[in-house]
């Protein structure tokens, strides 16, 4: 019988060609990346245009709505209301013809760095500043909650899928299914009643104790903020974690039925290696896409939670803007959340070719 050859030292030219061979599969990625980024900018342009059309072609201009509201409530019995309105219009550029307004809008938003003019909710602070002041709260609470939910949900889901034949897991699946169909605000309210009012373990709302002055350098203040954040974050983690775990579980189960899994078993690999390199690795790909979509939709999903927990954030800002017809802020929030969705799906699409080699080829 033949024996195996001795190891040979490879020459440097061989190393070079090996390097080329290693890089070669990634090359179509460059083309794919460029194409994907191009599409991204086009869709962002489309989103900005849609936002413009939606808010400018709505019946009635925002200012007259504001003024008529003020008049109705008797608060705005100001003399010379019409002149004031005209002045505001000029200030906001609403006196220009629509095409000019559109071009100005494009310039301000795309080149001017999200310049949407002054807000009404906090006039004369700019819309951008008003929104960006709220954004860290939203990201801090809910984007991080979504990430935690994904990490926990994906891990639990992978295990539930892997252990699908063990009867006990169906209990966990039942609980997850129940959590998944429960609206997040029900969980939130239940948590407030139980852990807040009943057990007095956790604060029921507010970003931090009302008496405190915000000071991010103070460890005690940060601790206080974190304590207040536990319930909002835990609510999201429970509901979204359940949803992510169910998704991951079914992805795992479908992967476990694949031929490459029984082949890996036939090779004598340990269950752990099969779980890590064959099952989890392959099920993870669609799960990453699911995270991207969920993160992009954060702003849409948090409106009600911010209200329930009385915490600052973009959702609450949007509600306030709606109440007084602050079109600039509404427009800004809508744009921001659209761009967030687009950007996250861009990131996911750029990440996937590195996780899934098939995409490198199929899209070039």
């Amino acid at each position: 019988m033949d024996s195996f050859p001795l190891r040979q030292k490879r020459s440097s030219s061989q190393n070079l060609s090996a390097l080329q061979a290693r890089l070669q599969p990634y090359l179509p990625t460059a083309k794919y990346i460029l194409k994907r980024i191009g599409i991204y900018f086009l869709t962002v342009l489309g989103a900005v245009t849609l936002a413009f059309i939606f808010f400018h072609l709505m019946p009635g201009d925002p200012l007259s709505i504001v003024f008529s509201q003020l008049e109705k409530t008797n608060l705005g019995r100001v003399t010379g209301g019409a002149e004031v309105a005209e002045a505001y219009k000029r200030l906001l550029g609403l006196d220009q013809p629509l095409p000019v307004q559109y071009l100005l809008f494009l310039r301000n938003v795309l080149i001017g760095g999200f310049d949407l003019g002054p807000s009404f909710v906090a006039f004369p602070t700019s819309t951008r500043d008003v929104i960006f002041r709220q954004l860290p709260w939203t990201i801090g609470y809910f984007t991080s909650a979504m990430l935690i939910a994904w990490l926990i949900g994906t891990t639990i889901g992978a295990l539930l899928g892997w252990l699908r034949r063990i009867g006990l897991t169906s209990v966990a699946v039942g609980i997850a299914t129940l959590l998944n169909i429960t609206p997040v605000y029900i969980i939130a309210i239940a948590a407030i009643i139980f852990f807040g009012y009943h057990l007095h373990w956790l604060p029921t709302g507010q970003p931090y104790d009302p008496g405190l002055t915000p000071n991010w350098g103070d460890i005690e203040f940060i601790k206080n903020v974190l304590r207040h954040a536990i319930m909002p974050i835990a609510s999201v983690v429970l509901v979204w974690g359940a949803s992510f775990s169910l998704g991951m579980r079914s992805l795992m189960i479908s992967v476990l039925g694949e031929d490459y899994l029984s082949y890996a078993k036939a090779k004598g690999l340990t269950p752990f290696m099969i779980l890590r390199d064959y099952a989890f690795r392959n099920a993870l790909l669609p799960q990453v896409t699911a995270l991207g979509i969920a993160l992009g939709n954060t702003i849409n999903g948090v409106l009600i939670l911010e209200a329930i927990f009385v915490v600052p954030g973009v959702g609450g800002l949007f509600v306030r803007a709606m109440a007084i017809h602050d079109f600039n802020v509404m427009q800004g929030v809508v744009l921001l959340s659209t761009v967030a969705v687009l950007t996250l799906s861009l990131i996911v699409d750029l990440l996937l070719p590195f996780l899934d080699p098939r995409i490198r080829r199929s899209n070039d």
């Binding site: 599969p25 004598g268 390199d277 080699p357 098939r358």
Partner: protein, 320 residues
């Protein structure tokens, strides 16, 4: 010669909610060391189920109803793959008995490079990373593939190349037995021939025992020493391939061989009717609804596989 593998009364089924349907029924088979043994039969007759059972890979909804698969190790010790604990089973897999799957395209993980898929087993069986890669190169070379394939993903290779990768992967540990399930299905004729040649080469070079499974009599004719003809989960005929092609004993084998297109390209005798499902086998000889020689005894009594001529076995009431 002492057989390297002894299959005794092996019955493998699939469980539904109410019953178990036997895809492999009371199979007895000795596999001789160094031979290429063919298992042939129509699709659905239980060939893959048998192969999977030989690897100790049957799992739910599959169940091993009875029997044993004794494997003779290098030190002449016998181990029964049926009911072996997971750990010793893992050690036997690939080292003693390796597998060339049906459809290597779907058997290779699409998101891992060939390098990882060829070497992970080796590392797991105790080789160093460098040794594993060296051995993978050696194996690829053996099946006429360039080592550059190591850096490729399965979808970047042709069907024939994937099949060669699967064969190379199977020989990396120099196993005593190779089980190749439909190794040439879905490949063009030229590739088929060269793939089969690789198998013969491996047997000739290393004395590897190879079990080749196929629905294709042509494959049997090309590479196999001995073959087992399966029908509806049972072995219908067993013997040297030359003898069987020369003078098939079982009516089913006769029809199978008769249905091979001859040089003229004509189907001389087609197989009429369909093979029974594992949930509704006919009583007696499972072939009787399709057999022109069937008599009353065929409908009542199951024919046992018995030696009709020296070295040639058939399970039929009417073939002496």
């Amino acid at each position: 010669m002492t057989p390297i593998m002894q299959i005794r009364d092996l019955s493998v089924g699939y469980a539904s909610r109410r019953a178990v349907g036997l895809a492999v029924t009371s199979v007895n088979l000795d596999v001789e060391k160094g031979e290429i043994l063919g298992v042939v039969g129509e699709s659905g007759c239980g060939k893959t189920t048998l192969a999977v059972a030989l690897l100790g890979l049957i799992e739910s909804p599959g169940v091993i109803q009875s029997g044993s698969v004794q494997l003779r190790l290098a030190d002449d010790k016998l181990v029964d793959l049926v009911g072996l604990a997971p750990r010793p089973l893992r050690q036997i897999r690939w080292k003693e008995i390796a597998y060339i799957p049906q459809g290597s395209m779907s058997a290779l993980n699409p998101v891992l490079r060939v390098r990882q898929q060829m070497t992970d087993t080796l590392v797991q069986h105790g080789l160093s990373k460098a040794e594993a890669i060296e051995r993978a190169r050696w194996a690829l070379n053996l099946v006429s593939l360039d080592a550059a394939v190591l850096d490729k993903y399965p979808h970047e290779l042709s069907g024939g190349m994937n099949q060669r990768v699967a064969i190379a992967t199977a020989v990396t540990m120099q196993p005593a037995i190779l089980v190749a399930d439909e190794p040439t299905t879905a490949l063009d004729v030229v590739t088929q021939r060269s793939i089969l040649q690789e198998l013969v080469k491996i047997r000739d070079q290393f004395g590897t025992t190879i079990i080749v499974i196929s629905h294709d009599m042509g494959v049997m004719a090309q590479v196999v020493d001995r073959m087992a003809v399966m029908y509806a989960g049972r072995i219908a005929e067993l013997g040297l391939v030359l003898n069987i092609f020369d003078a098939p004993l079982h009516p089913y084998t006769q029809k199978l061989i008769g249905s091979i297109p001859k040089d003229t390209g004509q189907h001389l005798e087609g197989l009429e009717g369909e093979a029974p499902s594992l949930w509704a086998y006919p009583p007696g000889c499972r072939f009787h609804p399709r057999c022109s020689l069937a008599t009353a005894i065929c409908r009542e009594q199951t024919p046992e596989l018995r030696e009709i001529i020296s070295g040639q076995y058939a399970a039929c009431h009417h073939c002496d």
